[in-house]
């Protein structure tokens, strides 16, 4: 492991703490501690996104996971009953799970390190027309400047990925309806 730049120093710092916190999620005895460790991991992941120049994703990570999902997890813990939530959560399958987990990690690490990955195509150099896509993602503004990633995502969302974008709102709608329906107890039926 050679370190060439500040970015790498920052990356390893983030990565080590994030992985440690992730282990904390699994091994913490108290479910509240697990939840707090999870928040740490999620926020640090946002830092990794920054290093990858994915600023928008990083913002989303902080806003949605760091804010919303963490609160959701904490509330979920709060509404569970005390006696169910305390103490170790391991089952009898723990040894098998450890072996399986380690096996998967080994395979993935080997696979990832041995594969030649597609080099990220710099946004400006991407070909405007691919034989397949009708409209290729354009990543230059009218004046030919390089776009910020938020620009590019905005552009993609409203050209190439217009359908998934709208379906995303449907997913949210369905989740909303479902959650309200399921949370509403029988006694609230009268409207």
């Amino acid at each position: 492991m050679q370190i060439h730049s500040t970015e790498q120093v920052v990356f390893y710092l983030l990565a080590v703490v994030a992985v440690a916190a992730a282990l904390g999620v699994v091994f913490a005895q108290d479910i509240i501690h697990s939840a707090l460790f999870l928040v740490v991991t999620l926020i640090l992941t946002a830092g990794v996104y920054v290093l990858l120049s994915a600023e928008f994703l990083s913002l989303v990570q902080v806003l949605v996971y760091g804010g919303g999902v963490s609160i959701l997890v904490m509330f979920a813990v709060m509404i569970t009953r005390v006696r169910d939530a305390r103490g170790p959560l391991d089952g009898a399958q723990k040894p098998i799970a450890i072996v399986a987990g380690l096996a998967i990690v080994t395979v993935l690490v080997l696979m990832i390190s041995r594969t030649e990955w597609q080099q990220a195509i710099p946004a400006v150099n991407r070909p405007d027309e691919s034989p397949v896509r009708v409209q290729r993602v354009i990543t230059q503004t009218d004046k030919g400047q390089l776009m910020s990633d938020t620009d590019a995502i905005g552009h993609d969302l409203f050209t190439t990925f217009a359908v998934p974008f709208e379906v995303a709102s449907l997913v949210l709608l369905v989740a909303l309806v479902g959650a309200i329906y399921l949370a509403r107890g029988e006694e609230d039926e009268v409207t």
Binding site: W117, R133, T160, A162, V163, P164, V177, G178, Y181, L182
Partner: protein, 490 residues
């Protein structure tokens, strides 16, 4: 507008779902009949739109991309554009009776059902990883809610189990998609296929890992071993019409995307053989585990949970055969599509009979089906006929379906798989025909007759006639399946 036209049938479904929700919120609360009618109108309009697309398709280009290539509407898509609304139409008819028990929840129920249908249709039309994921999520989220719809302890357990296992498998699938993106630099399926064709040997392992990860997510949808854990509990706990939908709709959606993903995209010869073996193994496991575990069930919905795992194994035999067959792609993929159609009719017919019976006798225990012949001769006949079709005996749709699939496997030199399939057919005959025997040759404990409602009888009649018609004249439907499968021919 050309673009919108291509996904018109899907839009109609989503509009119907929205309309159902809005109608329920407007001050004069509509009754559930109106909501169901809105749903049915949506189904019919959607099918009509698809028919219009189909008519134009015959004269037009073989593949039609829309929305910057994220959506593809070819014969294969159109096949599922017909299938999913048809299933939903049946399920809505079957639900009317059931919903008497839950007066003011109908809006959520129908809205979610229509949203699932739209999602499934969109999944069949997906040509991009992002759209695949989001369409899959739309279905999954709605299905989790519907599984827990009754809010009693069993139904909640079903919903929760479905959610937890589903979220996990989707996460694994997403990892596979990330790998594909990393390997190809694109989320568009044709781009990925192109990248795979020029991939180096070093990348092969990563493509296979991605294929495996995708199989986890798709396998969960199809309920195949080893991703079947949820099926029996969810089938038992969910409202019976929802179980009927899950057993055919969710499975068909899973197979639609599996075919598109694996044949359309990852079908290059360099890795096709490897994942074909993976599917062959899963097929053997699914058939065997499903059938053996079904033998000891006493609850009929649970039994159908296991039986559907075994049936998914039968589909998979065809799926595995396609890749091994190399150049003879269409024979096997049309066999799979034919199987999906035949299974849809058969299972829906069986579930409607079960619905009609359980609505009256208020029990899902197989023991309570004893002597049903004397209490409800027609229902008993319908159920028996569908069970015969599920077993795969003539003169039913199920017979031809099994014949075609096993034939495809034989042509692909997968003799061992066919042998396992035939042994499993014998095992399944034991419990399928066991129900038939108990209905016809034992005495009922209660003599009171069981009468189905009009809507149920109607849908049951259509499904059963479908099974019979396909059984007597499989040709036309096989043509349809073959036309849809031409998409994958090379």
């Amino acid at each position: 507008m050309e673009n919108l036209d291509r996904i018109g049938p899907v839009l109609v479904m989503f509009l119907a779902a929205g309309l159902v929700l809005v109608l329920d919120l407007l001050p004069p609360r509509s009754n559930k009949r109106v909501l169901a009618e809105v749903g049915l109108v949506g189904v019919v309009l959607s099918a009509l739109w698809t028919a219009a697309l189909l008519i134009r398709e015959t004269g037009g280009s073989p593949t039609d991309l829309a929305f910057a290539g994220t959506v593809i509407v070819d014969n294969f898509t159109l096949f599922f554009y017909f299938l999913f609304p048809a299933i939903t139409g049946f399920v809505i008819l079957g639900s009317l009776d059931y919903l008497d028990q839950m007066a003011d929840r109908a809006a959520e129920y129908f809205a979610l059902l229509l949203a699932i249908t739209g999602g499934a249709m969109l999944l069949a039309a997906s040509n991009d990883l992002i759209l695949i994921f989001i369409a899959l999520e739309l279905q999954s989220v709605s299905q989790y809610v519907l599984a827990g719809f009754l809010r009693d302890s069993r139904s909640s357990e079903a919903g929760l189990k479905y959610l937890l296992l589903g979220a996990t498998s989707v996460a694994v699938m997403l990892y596979g998609m990330a790998l594909l993106y990393g390997l190809s630099g694109s989320t568009a399926l044709p781009d990925i296929a192109a990248a795979l064709r020029t991939a180096s040997d070093g990348q092969k392992a990563a493509y296979l890992a991605a294929a495996g990860a995708l199989a986890v997510g798709f396998g969960f949808k199809m309920a195949i071993v080893p991703f079947q854990m949820w099926a029996p509990d969810v089938y038992q706990g969910a409202p019976t019409p929802v179980t009927a939908y899950l057993s055919v709709g969710s499975k068909a959606a899973g197979f639609a995307i599996t075919l598109r993903m694996f044949y359309g995209t990852l079908g290059a010869d360099s890795i096709a053989g490897d994942w074909a073996n993976m599917f062959a193994l899963m097929a053997a496991l699914s058939m065997t585990a499903g059938n053996v575990l079904a033998l000891q069930q006493s609850n009929i919905k649970r039994l159908f949970g296991y039986s559907s795992i075994a049936q998914a194994g039968n589909f998979l035999v065809g799926v595995a055969a396609i890749a091994s067959a190399g150049g003879r792609f269409t024979v096997s993929s049309s066999a799979v599509l034919f199987f999906i159609l035949a299974y849809t009719f058969t299972n829906l017919g069986a579930f409607f009979a079960i619905l009609a019976i359980s609505n009256r006798i208020r029990s899902d225990r197989i023991a309570d089906y004893a002597g049903m012949w004397k209490r409800a001769p027609l229902l008993a006949l319908v159920l028996a006929f569908c069970l015969v079709s599920l077993t795969g005996l003539p003169p039913t749709a199920g017979f031809w379906a099994k014949l075609y699939v096993f034939n495809a496997a034989l042509r692909a030199d997968m003799v061992w798989l066919v042998v396992i399939g035939v042994i499993n057919t014998l095992v399944s005959a034991y419990y399928y025909l066991g129900i038939v025997r108990s209905m016809f040759f034992t005495d009922p404990r209660v003599e009171s007759p069981v009468q189905p409602t009009v809507s149920l009888s109607l849908s049951m009649a259509v499904a059963t006639l479908g099974v019979l018609a396909i059984g007597l004249l499989p040709g036309p439907l096989l043509n349809v399946a073959e036309r849809a499968a031409t998409v994958f021919a090379r």
